[in-house]
Amino acid sequence: MSRELMSLFNQLSRGLREFYVAPYRRVFARAQRDEEDLFMMLVLSEALGVPNPASGATLELLPEMLDRMHHWHLRQGLDHSPIDGLSCC
């Protein structure tokens, strides 16, 4: 009995959570993307001509970011990769 009650309770909680989260999923995804874009710009700042005192550290991150780079530079209005040696398209 109590187990049934618990499962009903869990179902209700799950439903409510979906009801809370779903309408704004897209807004959140966009906000996250904007933040990641900013981060990407920091990582690539040397290549974009902005001096970056932490370039040693960001350079290490570059391989991690490559997957997302193509979509990123397209979103920023650059038809080609901003880094000469790294072409993704």
Partner: protein, 573 residues
């Protein structure tokens, strides 16, 4: 004949809408839209965890219903009861069954069969590039008017029901706290929900005890003017805040509140069984009341048929539909939910008074109807039914209506900001969030105050808003008709309502033109002219596109085209 009892009316109305759901929507699903449970919906095909997410149909219905239902299905009927309760009742029930349900379901189907694209994109595809521009024009006007009309509705309520002032603004604090509790403190949502609703009702009690009445003149403005300015400042700030801070928790609490409010309203009608004191047909309408045809059909838009629903159906709901057959419940029954709200509003405004003379004293002019009457009449019914003191009942309903309208208003400002930015981009400007919001608010304020410093003539906008809304519905229905003609399916269940709505909206726009000219409402006149041009445009474009669709070779039926790849086996979830 004795005046009929409102309980009888409620039962007949609910029975009609349920019959519509069980019978007519079944016919539509089988013969017209031919919904197929095996069809792989966009939510599965493009599943991305963001826009395209297969969702349980009951939860999706909850979303869909709370996104489409707001203050509009209350305001419209509350104005339209001036012609008597019977025409309003007929339009709401028959409209819900044969128009709104069909329209919402049709828009959802059209989108699901087109990769979840929105009606805006579909109008480009089925009517041509001009169709897409047309859609932008109509949406721009719709958002402009909804923001202005609701600012007037809310400020009027805050002046009439000073008890609602504390809960209205306090609800924002509750929403802020709910947002913090969920995202920062990660509390259990169910507990937070219960606490949030209790806090809201505690605020209502508090507000009822300590009504806030503004002085005659505040900062050189009338109280109503002051509230309008305050509301726009609020809406501007709310629309640029991160959504999790305010908009998301507030939408959520309002969604819950919608169900509680419907329960209170129908529960009271069942217990109080008030008599319909208003006349069935009002032969004795005030002198300034326009002719019932075509104005009734644009005064009640939401609750009978509303083009705005099509943008929700095709914009978000269609991307979350787990099975195509779920569209019948989500789309059609979503419209039924809104019809129920409109029916409740009719009963509140027709039965919430003691005598016919009382009722006539309230409806003494076309502009006196509106949400204030709903609060007054509904408050009396809740008082009788549940025994809650009359002023407290009125405060509850007023708070409910204000919260709905405010939600629509700041969402409207937010959406309009995007439209302004898009227009700016077309014109070669890059507008930031703040400047675009400022432009949006200034345009809407200009419209709100164009009818006087206190926004007293604000309800003038209402029928024009309804007209635009119906125009959008007609555009959506034309697209659905074109799709059906191309497939060689029965199209009359869609085309006939589309033609009806188009004719009513078009002639209402022309009738209003004369009124605005007489009253010297030049801004509204200009908007009306744009609407008429858009209406003619919609009609011409869709007739051309339909003619072409007739001539073209028929597309094969969907089921024949369905490849194994597009199938989604019935036993998977």
């Amino acid at each position: 004949m004795d005046a009929p009892n409102s309980l009888v009316l409620a039962i007949i109305g609910v029975a009609m809408m349920l019959a519509g759901y069980f019978l007519y929507s079944k016919f539509l699903a089988k013969k017209v839209y031919k919904l197929n449970a095996e069809f792989k919906t966009p939510s599965h095909e493009f599943s991305d965890g963001v826009d395209f997410v297969p969702t349980n149909k009951y939860i999706l219905w909850g979303h869909h219903f709370t996104s489409v239902a707001g203050a509009a299905p209350i305001v419209g009927p509350a104005v339209a009861v001036i012609w008597g309760w019977f025409p309003a009742f007929l339009w709401v029930t028959l409209g819900t069954v044969f128009l709104a349900g069909m329209h919402d379901l049709g828009a959802m189907w059209a989108s699901v069969r087109n990769k979840g694209q929105s009606i805006g994109t579909l109008s480009g595809r089925y009517i041509g590039a001009r169709g897409r521009n047309l859609f932008l024009v109509v949406i721009f006007l719709l958002l402009l008017m909804v923001v202005a009309a609701f600012a007037v509705v809310i400020s009027g309520l805050l002046v009439d029901q000073p008890g609602a002032v504390i809960p209205t603004w306090g609800a924002l604090v509750v929403a802020l706290l709910v947002g913090q509790a969920i995202y920062r403190l990660k509390w259990n949502l169910l507990a937070v929900t219960v606490a949030g609703v209790i806090a809201l009702y505690a605020l209502i009690l508090l507000g009822d005890r300590y009504p806030v009445e503004l002085p005659e003149s505040i900062l050189g403005m009338s109280p109503q003017g002051f509230w309008i300015i305050t509301l726009f400042v609020y809406a501007a700030i709310a629309s640029v805040l991160p959504v999790w801070v305010l908009l998301q928790p507030r939408d959520y609490i309002n969604g819950i509140q919608l169900f509680i409010g419907l329960g209170i309203l129908y529960g009271s009608v069942m217990l109080a069984t008030p008599t319909l004191v208003a006349p069935a047909w009002n032969d004795n309408v005030p002198a300034d009341t326009p002719s019932i045809v075509p104005l009734l059909f644009v005064t009640i838009a939401c609750g009978a048929i509303s083009g705005f629903h099509g943008t929700v159906s095709s914009g978000t709901s269609s991307k979350q539909l787990a099975r195509e057959t779920d569209a019948r419940f989500v789309g059609y029954f979503g419209a039924v939910g809104e019809g129920l709200l409109a029916l409740g509003a009719i009963i509140a405004c027709a039965a919430g008074f003691r005598t016919l003379a009382d009722w006539e004293a309230v409806y003494d002019s076309f502009s006196s109807g509106g949400v204030g009457v709903f609060v007054q009449g509904g408050g009396a019914i809740v008082n009788n039914g549940l025994g809650i003191p009359e002023s407290l009942s009125a405060t509850i309903l007023a708070t409910m209506a204000v919260l709905f309208a405010a939600t629509t208003m700041d969402t409207g400002v937010r959406l309009k900001r995007y439209v302004v930015q898009e227009i700016g981009q077309l014109a070669g400007f890059r507008l930031g969030t703040v400047s675009a919001t400022l432009i949006t608010v200034v345009i809407a304020l200009a419209l709100t105050f164009s009818q006087g410093g206190d926004g007293s003539g604000g309800m003038l906008i209402w029928p024009l808003f309804g007209t635009t809304n119906q125009l959008l519905a007609a555009l959506t229905l034309s697209i659905v008709t074109i799709m059906l003609i191309r497939k060689g399916r029965p199209y009359l269940p869609v085309l006939l309502p589309a033609a009806f709505v188009m004719i009513m909206a078009g002639s209402a726009a022309v009738v209003q033109l004369g009124g605005f000219y007489r009253d010297g409402e030049w801004l509204l006149l200009a908007i009306d002219v744009v609407i008429i041009i858009a209406a003619v445009w919609v009609m011409v474009e869709s007739i051309i596109a339909m003619g072409q669709a007739f001539k073209e070779k028929k597309e094969p039926e969907d089921d024949e085209l369905l490849t194994e790849d597009q199938k989604f086996p019935l036993d998977t979830t």
